[in-house]
């Protein structure tokens, strides 16, 4: 044990002396490793960030909610064909609402972007959503204070609204918004409630910059009854989702008058599809990242091997001296392996030192943190590359003939 330790320390000492003696050369040699480690850690950080953002925002879509829409998520079909589909209409939503047995609740939704105004304060591009009183159940959303509008208010097409937290915060700084009247587009609406904060979908569209009004009111102020809407169907439970989907499909086909040979002219979208699309994106990012990482580590490894051969040749005499005073071949092998491992490890650490501040920058755009596992992997990978690429040179060093090595000038 003691024996191994003295040698180990000597090996470390030699490695660091050698690296220090050739600082510039060492850093240049380790460049491939540095780039590899930077790319693998940044990729890991980015994927971590995407996952976090995704998991947070995808929750708003609801895993057990079906979205009956004109456009399929994820695309793939002929754009023009879809474009020319007939709109989904409110009667179809009513049909689904009435007939679907596997649905816990059904909400139609139509949207428009308008100005919201209260006293002198103006908020542009607020999304006005026309829906029914079941909206909260369908999407699993809660009211922060006040209430949502009732079915009676919906049926009567009353000018009431529930506003998103962002709208509330922007229009009412020191006032209680409940009971106040705001202008949405050209109509006046009385605020009955404020919806709790929901965040955004994939960091793009805020879900809180919205105002919800009865859909029957929406048809008066923003679009006709024959304008396109979407239908959201919450299944009774997660395990009924597939059956609910088939059922809704049947109801929709009937409501839209399709005969059996015709294909669906609507899409039933669900969270699952986004997850799939997202996973594909994740795989692509990981693939590209791993390719860059692999390539730079490979090139870096070759560079390390090359420089280690140079180092062995330069130090042939030293190897001879060490052998002459009793270093066994194994020790020489170990010494050069440690040197190349130390070189790569240095590259790895420099790589981490570069990518850590970069990960903080990424964090500004996409809330994330460099995963600890990635740091560990980076260290292990650079050690591994060092050992692999150092092996041949180290082996050559250890096989030198002591007399020849001593004679080398």
């Amino acid at each position: 044990m003691k024996y191994a330790f003295g040698e180990f320390r000597e090996g470390l000492l030699i490695a660091f002396t050698a690296i220090r003696a050739n600082k510039m050369r060492s850093v240049l040699t380790a460049l491939g490793i540095i780039i590899g480690i930077v790319s693998v850690t940044l990729m890991g950080t980015a994927i971590e960030g995407l996952n976090r953002a995704f998991n947070k925002s995808i929750a708003a879509i609801g895993a057990d909610v079906l979205y009956v829409q004109k456009w399929p998520w994820g695309g793939g079909e002929d754009w023009w064909k879809i474009r020319n589909r007939k709109d989904i209409l409110i009667q179809q939503a009513r049909a689904v609402e009435k007939q679907a047995e596997f649905a816990r609740s059904v909400s139609p939704a139509a949207g428009a972007r308008r100005q919201a105004k209260y006293n002198q304060k103006v908020l542009e591009n607020v999304v006005i959503v026309g829906t029914n009183a079941d909206f909260l159940t369908t999407l699993g959303v809660n009211v922060e204070f006040g209430r949502f509008f009732t079915s009676a208010e919906d049926d009567g097409g009353r000018p009431v609204c529930a506003i998103g937290s962002e709208v509330a915060a922007n229009l009412f700084t020191n006032e209680n918004p409940l009971g106040k009247t705001i202008k949405l587009g050209s109509g006046n609406y009385k605020i009955v409630g404020v919806i709790e904060k929901q965040g955004s979908i994939l960091g793009m569209e805020s879900l809180d910059n919205r105002a919800y009004i009865p859909i029957n009111r929406f048809f008066k102020n923003f679009q006709s009854r024959f304008g396109g809407i979407q239908i959201m169907v919450k299944a009774i439970s997660m395990k009924d989702l597939d059956e609910a989907k088939e059922e809704v499909r049947g109801i929709m086909r009937k409501a839209r008058g399709l005969h059996p040979k015709q294909a669906d002219d609507f899409a039933i979208n669900q969270q699952e599809m986004i997850i799939q699309t997202f996973n594909t994106i994740g795989v692509v990012i990981a693939g590209v990242g791993l390719f860059i990482t692999g390539l730079s580590l490979f090139v870096g490894g070759i560079g390390i091997m090359n420089i280690m051969f140079v180092s062995v040749t330069e130090r042939t005499k030293e190897i001879g001296i060490r052998m002459a005073i009793g270093a066994p071949r194994r020790t020489i092998l170990q010494q050069f392996l440690m040197e190349s491992a130390a070189l790569c490890l240095m590259g790895g650490v420099i790589g981490l030192m570069i990518s850590f501040p970069l990960s903080l920058i990424i964090d500004q755009i996409l809330p994330t943190a460099m995963p600890l596992s990635i740091v560990a992997i980076a260290i292990l990978v650079s050690l591994f590359v060092g050992l692999v690429s150092g092996f041949l040179p180290a082996f050559r060093a250890s096989r030198l003939d002591p007399v020849d090595a001593l004679r080398y000038e």
């Binding site: 003295g6 001879g320 001296i321 060490r322 005073i325 009793g326």
Partner: protein, 240 residues
């Protein structure tokens, strides 16, 4: 007297291209404990080859080599490394110190490979450095020392493991004659203290420090004689 080295019909053949070079034809000799031996002979006569075999840096093509009654000629690389570490102290013409390490570390090195603990190592190395009179230079690098001082460091490194034999291949070959004399005085002292020493030299006046001169020619022992009028060291072995 104890036999330290026994060589029986040692041959060494180098293959150079299609040619065989018989560096040692058939060498047999015995060296006893505390002997002081010089090996002489013209260039290319096989002196270094013999020293390398005795020092276990090289293995003979055939023949028997016993070191302290153990057969060395059959040992593998690892066993030879161990013998070099424990039993042999080698001093070279070109000193062969590690340029980037200071005196202390150079002298410590055999003990590191010998698995001696750090504190023990430092103690032994300091003592050996003291014996060659370089205590003041303990943290100097080789390039801050004169040739004579470097050779003293090499001798300290050879001594530090308390080996069975000290081997020196032309130890004064790179030194001026005055410095050479000083190194020889050091060897004289070490021999008097009980070490067994074999050294290679070209110079009669160096060889005359020893008790026995073995002359080689074309890989054979030409003569093996006791020294008649032994030269006595003029300077003392310890010079700071």
């Amino acid at each position: 007297m104890d036999t330290v080295i026994r060589l029986n019909n040692i041959t060494k053949i180098y293959h150079v291209g299609s040619e065989d070079v018989h560096a040692l034809q058939s060498v047999s000799l015995e060296i006893h404990k505390n002997e002081y031996v010089a090996i002489m002979g013209p260039s290319g006569s096989g002196k270094s080859t013999l020293m390398n075999i005795v020092g276990c840096l090289d293995t003979p093509t055939s023949g028997l080599y016993e070191l302290n009654k153990t057969n060395v000629s059959e040992m593998n690389d690892n066993q030879l490394a161990r013998i070099r570490n424990k039993e042999i102290g080698f001093v070279f013409q070109t000193f062969n110190l590690l340029a980037r390490s200071d005196v202390l570390h150079n002298v410590e090195l055999p003990l590191i490979y010998g698995g001696v603990s750090s504190s023990e190592r430092k103690k032994m190395a300091r003592e050996a450095i003291g014996r060659v009179g370089l205590t003041e230079r303990i943290h100097h690098k080789p390039n801050e020392l004169s040739g004579g001082q470097r050779q003293r460091v090499a001798i300290a490194r050879a001594l530090v493991t308390q080996p069975s034999i000290l081997l020196a291949d032309e130890p004064t070959g790179n030194l001026d004659s005055k410095t050479g004399d000083e190194i020889m005085a050091l060897f004289d002292t070490l021999q008097k203290e009980g070490n067994t020493i074999i050294l290679v030299t070209h110079e009669e006046y160096i060889a005359e420090h020893t008790d026995r001169i073995i002359r080689l020619r074309d890989g054979n022992i030409e003569s093996d004689q006791a020294v008649q009028n032994k030269r006595v060291a003029v300077t003392t072995g310890k010079i700071g």
